[in-house]
Subunit: 346 residues, 2 copies
DNA sequence: TCCATGGAATTGAACGTTCCATGAGAGTGC
DNA sequence: GCACTCTCATGGAACGTTCAATTCCATGGA
């Protein structure tokens, strides 16, 4: 009998082309194809490499993620966890950040899976992630310094990276912007434009970045020998911002420059400025912070501080993968610089 | 030697608890645990069911996605593909839609994977998806009637559902809002408030929904015996919208109501209205369309038409899963109703 | 001649689940 | 008592890949 068994050329039931089909076509073994696929150059010759590549191309082979994932214990997926508030409210750069994350992950041949929590237990999502290993790592954004999500992930050994500084006893896997430093060019610009009377309107809430922006604002002013009166530093939600702004503008010695804690607030301020018959950028300078799309929809457009989302996304993904590859690496956090965006509002 | 080899009770190298551990703990077979897991009630008794559940709980068992996926040929993941423009521009509900999708997918025990394309070849992403089967189905948003993505997916047999109507020769797996119908209550409201002089400012581009909103606007007016003058129907990008609005407001017989094609445009219009010293909602009525977060950031807030994103997301996911389960089911598309949102702008 | 060396490739096993075919045991009908 | 059905349960195989160990073969030194 010339051939006892010839299962080789049948495309197998699933119809999809697998690694063994490629192996057969290239005249090598399964494992060799796998090695080529994973670029383990020390295990194959230049010649076989090209034969395998040719076979893969001609068969239109694509490795099966589930199989790779099962065997290698890697999902090739990165999770992104966001709070509902980030979506509800118009945190200007959330969308840009999403796009940046999709790009950053796909650049390293990974996929981005998005998570939110809906019920009370914010950690439930993470318990599932840890147990089922559906993602190799998690990116947290809008994290507080003492983020319970980060703490949980650290305890359970799931790699993560956080957009926002973390407490010293947590692994320092974070990327953040230097909010305080970002304020300086903004203030410099305003002062050199002749402004001396300032007001600050920030978002309510105790997050680190909120305090830091205000602090940076104060420090920057101080460098010019200026200070902001205590009654001109205000906080609040949407409605409060409107009210604050109206009252500020009604004062006898009304501020000539209103510095907002973020673009969304600045947009509201601009609106209120107009609604009382003044003009932003001419009668009152208004600045934001984010540098996102919101600033383009106001009239005039916002002068703001741009957060380099693409860079941040890349760094976060990079930190995640380093942990996946090398185990827990506890490097220092990273502060990325911001840059000022000139619009018409200041 | 007392022990030659005893791999039995050792939790196996990976350290994770698997289906066989549960089986051992419950005193049943692997397959029975699997059956319980998948709710195949005809294959186990009530008694074994509770024993298995108890064992799973006490061991903290979570099924391994990769293994399930490999064997069952289901990834339990749904992809969402978006164009860069949806992220760059402030398509108001993109974020809300994201949140709704995350919720809708997690409600049916699936995950959401987000895709964009970066290079020229928009279909490259889909070629990968088809070949690697990383997702069971794809959700398209902002789809044109003759969407090439939908056509490609239909050809390659990957289930999909589209937010936006599709050409008749494509599988009718779509959900959409009735833009024309949505305009009617808005116009009714304006007319009953006494408005007779209308203008319309829409986004540029030939998308179906843009034409339909304008058409709905016209029809609704006609029902009141009114019509909009040809020179008061305008289109354009951001800058053009500003210019258009200024010119409209400068006319001797300026419109008393400006109907915008979406919230982003309406926001710009409101801004311009204020910047020329008028007040939206008092001197000029302004309406939007989307009913998203943008409308809350203008002063006054926008009167608009709310798109029921949660409902749409649910329906899209549902359509996807029906295809995955039952094969290609070619039901009719679904038009979901909108509702008017009352803000201060009209 | 013999053995160590090392590059290139191969084979058996394993990852954790579900599919498939089969089996044990109890109940039913004749 | 026997065949039949029905419920519940089982073990082997398979999904497609990578890990770990092994083989093959040419080379070179002792």
């Amino acid at each position: 009998m010339p051939e006892t068994r010839t299962p080789a050329r049948t495309p197998r039931r699933s119809g999809r082309v697998s690694i063994v089909d490629v192996a057969a076509a290239a005249g090598v073994s399964r494992q060799t194809v796998s090695n080529v696929l994973n670029g383990r150059k020390e295990y194959y010759s230049e010649d076989t490499h090209s034969r395998v590549i040719a076979a893969m191309d001609s068969l239109g082979y694509q490795p099966n993620r589930a199989a790779q994932s099962l065997r290698s214990q890697r999902s090739m997926q990165i999770g992104w966890h966001i709070f509902g508030e980030q979506l509800q409210a118009m945190r200007g750069f959330t969308l840009q950040f999403l796009q940046a994350l999709v790009k950053a992950t796909s650049d390293v041949d990974h996929h981005l899976v998005v998570f939110t929590h809906h019920d009370d237990d914010a950690l439930q999502v993470f318990k599932d992630l840890v147990a089922r290993r559906t993602v190799d790592a998690v990116i947290l954004s809008e994290s507080g310094v003492d983020d319970e999500r980060a703490r949980f992930l650290a305890e359970h050994g799931l790699p993560f990276a956080s957009f926002g500084r973390l407490a010293p006893d947590l692994p320092q896997h974070w990327v953040d912007i230097d909010n305080a430093a970002g304020m300086h060019p903004l203030v410099d610009h305003l002062v050199s434009a002749g402004h001396r009377q300032f007001a600050y309107i920030g978002a309510e809430g105790g997050e680190f970045w909120k305090a830091e922006r205000l602090e940076g604002f104060r420090t920057a002013l101080a460098e010019h020998g200026l200070r902001v009166p205590a009654n001109a530093v205000l906080h609040g939600d949407d409605a409060a911002v409107r009210a604050h702004t109206r009252r500020l503008l009604a004062r006898r010695n009304r501020p000539t420059a209103i510095v907002a804690g973020n673009d969304a607030i600045a947009a509201v301020v601009v609106n209120v400025v107009h609604s009382v018959g003044l003009r932003a950028g001419r009668d009152v300078a208004v600045t934001g912070f984010d540098g996102g799309a919101i600033g383009l929809f106001t009239e005039p457009t916002l002068t703001s501080v741009r957060i380099p989302v693409e860079r941040i996304a890349r760094e976060l993904v990079d930190r995640c993968l380093r942990q996946v590859r090398d185990g827990a690496v506890d490097g220092p956090g990273l502060l990325v610089p911001t840059e000022i965006v000139r619009g018409g509002s200041a």
